[in-house]
Amino acid sequence: MTLGVDQPWMLVLLPLVVLPWLRSPHRRTAVGSIAVVPADHLSAWLGHILRGAGALTIGLIVLALSSPYAGGRTVSRIGTGAQLVLLLDRSGSMNDTFAGRTPAGAEESKASATKRLLREFIGRRPHDLFGVAAFSTAPMLVLPLTDHQDAVLAAVNASDRRGLDFTNIARGLGMALSMFAADRPDEHHVILLVSDGGAVIDPHVQDQLRAAFARHRADLYFLFLRTAGSKGLFDTPAPGEDTPQAMPERFLHLYFQTLGIPYHAFQAESPQQVEEAIRQVDALERYPITYTERLPRHDLTGWAYALACLPTLVLLAAKLAEARITPQPQVLAVMSPRRRKAA
């Protein structure tokens, strides 16, 4: 259990706790000499208690003002599996079926099928660390690496919403890689790239990605959802068509192969094939992993105020118990205005 405060500068006010020893909160009753008052232990004790209560009240209120909390520290945990980033294509075409049409009736879009199958996949791997990133024209960080399955499932659930514009795989990969630690050879990093289309990667971006993969040491699984009639990963080009612009998927596949990392490509043309691919990934990635996580904080401000209530009540009781040496109402004539007897 760690304790901390959000606004430590408020603690500058803590020296105010000596105030009860410097000033008295009670109504002053002036007397000629307090030496005539007999010594009284009970009164002395009461004085100490009230001063203590005053100091405690001030201290607790200052503490409450500084927003104390408990917990919130980072812990190290060990899981089995891998650190797995799901990199999902959110381009508009993902909302079509494998046949390339808008889903109708019982048909399932590529995004929905992926979502359903990924949910099962996540459910089978309770100790994995999942992160979710999506990309279309720009990459989107959906969820950093975590072992909270609820959060991962929620992130995956949201992945079949209406898609956006285009497919920019390079920047998506860059973001996925940035979620891993660079200097941890004991961790096992996996990127599961789910996309239904290839994209041309600039040569200089290719070099940057290559360097990033070398630094973060991630396995790459490319799950290509092939729409009926489109080009595939493993198609042999017709003569004159062997250019990245004509066949981006093929060239992407070739580029990934040159990265020098464990790389598997799956080409799925139906939900069943997607399931099969995911099952293979599941079988391949089983490693021990350690990961760190921040525990949630517990706000103690309310407790501090509640505790401050108790001595405040004591002080209030003392204030209400204050007595006053009241002169009885009478004419404050200093002298009797009697006339002298006739001299």
Binding site: P38, S43, A323, T326, M335
Partner: protein, 292 residues
């Protein structure tokens, strides 16, 4: 002070020795006053007081002269405690009570033919509150001005390195040197017994009249229950007191014991104290003075 207020009637204890004629019995033999004795003309050659009848009756034909007890005047001094504890405000402001008492005393003294002087002391002698004995009738006005309640020392004030208190009362004796005088020692007597003893010893040759200025809120009208945050007017120290009937009883017992000790001490040096409580009743004061 309005002229309607009666005078304070005081009588010095014992016969006084003074050349100045006045209102009080003295050891002085003179031509006026109550008849004392008959002496031969040679002893007291005052032709105005030759007693014809006694001369005629004397078998040796000696001329006899009547002698009288001269009535003399005495110097009356008010020795006033100007320490901060007299800033107490209960039923009345003690400082105002003291001022009024001194004004009436000054007027009564000068009207009786005596001289009045004022010595104010806190931690030391207060020169600005000092009036040497004078028979001037206007002295009461001077007294009223010199004993304005603002003259009393402030609480916890340390002036010129001196501690608060009434140590100056013990230094007043040289100002009362010479013939026997009447000295009204006006204070709340919330002073250390040791200091009081030294004050009384220093003034032992004079007729000391202790005047205790008290307030009923200091004893009788204390609350039965409750918290009192007491502040010492003298030292400005604070003390929290939880009043309850038991403590109130002990408090009043202690107060009574203190008063008894003061009475005992004063009686040893002459008179029992005269007490002024809450208000200045001149007639009662005069009566108490006669009984003291």
């Amino acid at each position: 002070m309005s002229p309607d207020v009666p005078d304070i009637h005081y009588r010095p204890r014992g016969a006084i020795a003074s050349w100045r004629a006045g209102a009080h019995p003295s050891r002085q033999v003179g031509a006026l006053g109550a008849f004392r004795d008959l002496v031969p003309f040679a002893t007291y050659p005052d032709a105005r007081r030759i007693d014809v009848r006694a001369t005629a009756l004397d078998p040796f034909e000696t001329t006899m002269v009547r002698r009288f007890r001269q009535r003399a005047a005495i110097d009356v001094y008010a020795l006033v405690d100007l320490s901060a504890s007299l800033r107490y405000q209960g039923q009345a402001a003690k400082a105002a009570l003291v001022r009024d008492l001194c004004v009436v005393l000054a007027r009564s003294a000068t009207r009786t033919g005596d001289r009045f002087g004022l010595i104010g002391c806190d931690a030391g002698m207060r020169q600005e509150c000092f009036l040497p004995a004078t028979a001037r009738r206007a002295v009461s006005t001077d007294v009223a001005e010199r004993l304005d309640p603002s003259r009393w020392a402030a609480a916890g004030m340390v002036k010129g390195g001196m501690q608060p208190g009434a140590e100056g009362l013990a230094q007043a004796a040289p100002y009362l040197a010479g013939a026997r005088k009447m000295a009204f020692l006006i204070s709340d007597f919330l002073l250390p017994m040791d200091l009081l003893r030294r004050v009384f010893e220093g003034l032992a040759m004079h007729d000391i009249v202790p005047v205790v200025v008290r307030d009923s809120t200091e004893e009788e009208e204390l609350p039965d229950w409750g918290l009192l945050d007491l502040a010492d007017l003298e030292s400005a120290r604070r003390r929290l007191v939880f009043m309850r009937p038991g403590l109130k009883r002990r408090w009043r017992e202690a107060e009574r014991a203190r008063q008894a000790a003061i009475r005992q001490l004063a009686a040893r040096y002459g008179r029992t104290p005269v007490t002024v409580i809450d208000r200045l009743d001149i007639d009662r004061f005069s009566r108490d003075l006669m009984e003291a």
